[in-house]
Subunit: 279 residues, 2 copies
């Protein structure tokens, strides 16, 4: 069922709570792919009711980013949600989410300065603010996020803990195309040639993990190998970052340990893609 | 019943919600006075259960402010709560509210730049952050704030609206001593002479309202008269601000209209007192 109105969504949730139903929530920006579907399936397994939201959140896009061309296809998304047994598809409007005079923000400091946060000022403030709003509307027992956006997952987990929110924040494994490319709505932007180059991102991460497992722990060596693989294609405009980080505080590390994360952001043409792997 | 533990408070609230009880909440910094008592009484009238919190929130004090000497008397406060029929007195510790690594903040922009916000940088960020936390723990249906802190009341109302929170934020009339001085835990700081001077704050506001009702609408004339009355005492160190403002957005005005607010902050000796009146 499609719900556009915030107060209607709230009253549905109120009713569900009264009936003692548990609510699983999958917040998205739409243009759903297999990664989203895996979140939906996890939610359906754990909860009585599953709510998916689609909201392309202007607050989390920088000025020169892709807000205007971000892919949108509500009909298609509705079809996927129906097929997957989603109970409610919440699709609020910009002006209802950010009415005139809106001026309240949630910020997580520290952990948001690193990785993507260092290159996308204000991005995580936009994410935490909209997620706080969505959580307050949908009041989920559990919320599901893809681990492709590992930093986002940790930032939201931190917000929830710091602000004593009740929702359980669950990270779900990255879903990849057959050749390894992490699923992303932004993959649609890639030309055929760029798509070919994009596969090197995941390939470089798998290779780094293999190196680590064969005994290489020096961050510089791991990063060099990753850069070498990714930069082998002329379609790659820039590696924005490649970092070995602690899985909890996202601080950079010099020596890799089991459980650490290697995270990457790459521009292939004009398309910014991210990926990561846990060692 | 005194509750110190956050998760115990949460589980009490969960149980109350399951039983369908409505919760009224009075967040305070303790050292309760008649103003707080009026909030408690409003809450008891409107709700099944009343929760009072006492937490001297370090986040809302500036570096050179009175955090260390802020008056505290839990035994006395417990007595008042018991007498007034408060169901739960929530008394969390600093280290539970702000554990090591805490780094998430809620900010309301715009409305917090004015009046007290202009002189107490970070103050309202501290207020909104702690109130967000307390609301998430206590999950009140209604929360009660004294209108002496008019700006605080409007800031919290804005936070709740902007972030789609469910709690109803209720402002209760200023409670005054017999001679007019607005009740405040900080009145305790005043020497006898300062206490005498302090009465001029409310006296000047009543006089300004009388002038307005007799036809004076010019903000400068109203402010001049207020300053004249307050500065008549040598105990007054400084008038930090006296402003005629719009009751909603707190923007300064030049012509007074019915419903506008005149707000004042004054240093009497080292004690900062605030007061306001609605025209």
């Amino acid at each position: 069922m499609l719900v556009r109105d915030i107060s209607e969504m709230k009253s549905i949730v109120k009713d569900l709570k009264r009936k003692g139903k548990t609510i699983g929530f999958v917040p998205t920006m739409g243009y759903l792919h297999e990664g989203h579907v895996s979140l939906i399936r996890s939610s359906r397994k754990d909860n009585d009711i599953t709510v998916v939201s689609i909201f392309v959140n202007p607050l989390q896009f920088g000025e020169n980013e892709d807000l205007d061309r971000y892919p949108r296809d509500l009909k298609r998304d509705q079809g996927i949600c129906e097929k997957e047994g989603v109970d409610y598809l919440f699709y609020p409007s910009y002006k209802d989410m950010y009415p005139e005079g809106f001026s309240t923000y949630v910020t997580v400091e520290g952990i948001t300065d690193k990785l993507c946060g260092a290159f996308r000022p204000g991005h995580f403030r936009g994410v935490t603010t909209v997620v706080m709003k969505l959580f307050n509307i949908v009041k989920p027992d559990r919320a599901y996020f893809g681990l492709k956006d590992y930093q986002q997952f940790k930032v939201i987990q931190k917000m929830v803990r710091d602000l004593n929110m009740d929702v359980q924040v669950i990270g779900c494994p990255i879903v990849r195309e057959k050749d390894g490319l992490a699923m992303s709505s932004r993959n649609k932007y890639l030309s055929d040639k760029e798509r070919e180059a994009a596969v090197n991102i995941s390939r470089s991460l798998f290779e780094a993990k293999r190196l680590f497992e064969s005994g290489v722990t020096d961050a510089e060596r791991l990063k060099e190998r990753i850069i070498e693989i990714i930069m082998s294609s002329p379609e790659v405009r820039e590696i924005q970052y490649v970092e070995l980080v602690d899985p909890e505080n996202l601080e950079s590390k010099e020596k890799a340990e089991k459980g650490d994360i290697i995270a990457i952001a790459v521009f292939i043409g004009n398309t910014r893609l991210i990926d990561n792997i846990q060692l």
